[in-house]
């Protein structure tokens, strides 16, 4: 299957007062349709730049980015690329455009000139998909952070996109808001086959993905299934990342109880392994 997002040796640097500051260097990776990929890395590792390269908000200075097979450097294709590759940003307050929830969700398809009845259908369907239908007439500034981010996700879904990129979209939320957003995203990935690229610095979120990409200083340091990536403790230390809490606990316990298995990711697995070890 052709990848839906493909980075071919991509480099990008920002212009600063003293020359250029490289953000992404020789980045190569691909995301297949229907995949749930998490990208982790500490601040300044280039993950947000990578996100903005996906839908042509930034254009690579070297290499190519193909979104749904279209080169983001081609300005004529940007409209279609942005329709298919939706983006949800970090700050919920800075991406909600209209004064009511449903008007905001309609913003994208309005730009596509979708006729009115179809608009109504898309808005209702998208709001139901994230469980915000009941609040469709609410004013965004009266919603919680998690609710606002779900509205933002609905706004992307209404474009009938193929890929959703979440650029640290849970970073400003409280634990409950994070759970809400992650549940919506996982459901959309599983039930609708929506491709997800989740950029995060919460390892617990990354652990839920099919595949994890570890970014470090603008390069891809490691990639693989969460279980394999989180087993590479040296790599994680280089990237300045911590383990998901259950994995970290298992590692500490293993110093005294070497019989604990490796590759523990979730709380359930951790609990089961501890019980097994003490039996």
């Amino acid at each position: 299957m052709n990848p839906i997002i493909e980075f071919q040796n991509v480099s990008y640097s920002y212009a600063t007062e003293d020359g250029a500051e490289s953000a992404v260097q020789g980045l190569c990776f691909a995301v297949s349709p229907g995949e749930f990929v998490a990208m982790v890395g500490r601040n300044g590792s280039g993950k947000s730049t990578a996100a903005k390269l996906c839908n042509g908000l930034l254009i690579p200075q070297e290499g190519r980015v193909l979104a749904a097979g279209m080169d983001t450097a081609n300005e004529n294709l940007l409209f279609e690329i942005r329709r298919r590759v939706g983006m949800v940003f970090q700050n919920p307050d800075n991406q909600i455009i209209a004064a009511t929830v449903e008007d905001d969700v309609a913003f994208g398809p309005e730009n596509l000139c979708v006729p009115q009845e179809e608009l109504r259908r898309r808005v209702d369907e998208s709001l139901r998909a994230v469980g915000m239908y009941e609040l469709r007439e609410a004013e965004p500034h009266k919603l919680s952070g998690g609710q606002k981010q779900r509205v933002a996700i609905a706004g992307v879904l209404a474009l009938h996109n193929d890929v959703i990129i979440l650029d640290e979209s849970t970073a400003m939320l409280d634990p409950r808001g994070r759970t809400e957003v992650m549940q919506s995203v996982r459901a959309l990935n599983r039930e609708r086959g929506l491709t997800v690229l989740l950029i995060t610095h919460f390892m617990e979120e990354a652990a839920q993905a099919d595949r994890v990409l570890v970014m470090h200083e603008g390069r891809l340091l490691a990639q693989g299934a969460p279980r394999d990536v989180f087993a590479q403790e040296e790599t994680l230390r280089t990237a300045g990342l911590s383990l998901p809490a259950p994995a970290g606990l298992a590692r500490l316990l293993r110093e005294d109880f070497p019989q604990l298995p490796r590759g523990i990711l979730t709380e359930e697995e951790c609990a089961a392994a501890i019980l097994e070890a003490f039996r």
Binding site: M87, D93, G108
Partner: protein, 277 residues
């Protein structure tokens, strides 16, 4: 405390006024403003004022709310009223009362009193009707209706859609920026800034450390917002559709007919009764 703020003064309801097409509401409000200035005698003025009262009653908006919207103009009304009473002069004025105060003659004329009453009633009716418009229409609906009404100007290369988008964004961001202001004020206060006491000049000066971060953050927001809008296929040009449904229904034409009837009635009353102003 600011969290609960609502922009505009929309009063939710399902009255006939609420259900009227917003474009029709705007047009008829403008028409009413013209009609009220056509009135030449008390019969005509009374009819027009009665129409406003009827609309207010139909809207289901509490009278208290409508009266409250008149409060800011009360001083203006009193001022113009007093001026009109004393300063209406002319060859054919009927003097009701005259008093010599030093060298100034204070004269109260019949025409002066009538003019004062007319102006007062006119201003109050204008306020009542225009506040009814905003009480019965959501701000976003108003913006949409304005955009549609001004659409013919787009042919003259006036960027109507862009202005409408600016209005929408302004409506959306006012509460957010108010929240932000409060946050910055608290931040500065917690570092010892004194924003509440001192002379006016001192307080204005104390507000600078609030305004600067507010502007910086507003610009940052604007940049992020632009990315978010672009990501959702906004180009700033080309046609867009709208979720908002504006459809003229038979009832809307009923309202139009009512307004035409009122205008005709006013013209007739002007004709049959003597003009008092």
């Amino acid at each position: 405390m600011i969290k609960g703020i609502t922009i505009g003064q929309y009063f939710a309801g399902r009255s006939p006024l609420h259900r009227m097409d917003a474009r029709m509401k705007i047009v008829l409000t403008l028409a009413y403003m013209v009609v009220i200035f056509l009135c030449k005698n008390f019969w005509a003025l009374g009819c027009t004022a009665l129409a406003a009262v009827l609309c207010a009653a139909l809207s289901g908006v509490p009278a208290k709310m409508i009266l409250r919207s008149m409060r800011p103009v009360l001083i203006l009304v009193l001022f113009t009223g007093v001026l009109n009473v004393f300063y209406t002069n002319g060859p054919n004025t009927h003097i009701w009362f005259q008093y010599e105060l030093w060298r100034v003659t204070l004269k109260i004329t019949r025409e002066g009193v009538f003019t004062a009453m007319f102006t007062t009633i006119r201003i109050l009716c204008l306020i009542a009707v225009s506040s009814l418009l905003t009480y019965t229409t959501t701000p976003s609906m108003l913006t949409t209706a304005m955009e549609r009404l001004l659409l013919p100007l787009a042919k003259l290369k006036v960027p109507v859609a862009v202005f409408a988008m600016m209005m929408t964004l302004a409506l959306r961001f006012v509460p957010t920026l108010i929240e932000e202001t409060e946050r910055i004020m608290n931040a500065q206060k917690s570092r010892g800034a004194n924003l509440e006491t001192g002379s006016l000049l001192q307080r204005v000066r104390a507000f600078v450390p609030v305004l600067v971060p507010l502007f910086v953050s507003a610009f940052r927001r604007a940049a992020e917002l632009a990315s978010a809008m672009e990501s959702r296929c906004y180009t700033g040009e080309g046609p867009r559709t709208s979720l908002k449904q504006l459809r003229l229904r038979p009832w809307d034409f009923g309202w139009l007919a009512g307004t035409v009837l009122l205008t005709a009635g006013i013209v007739a009353l002007n004709h049959f009764f003597r003009a008092v102003i």
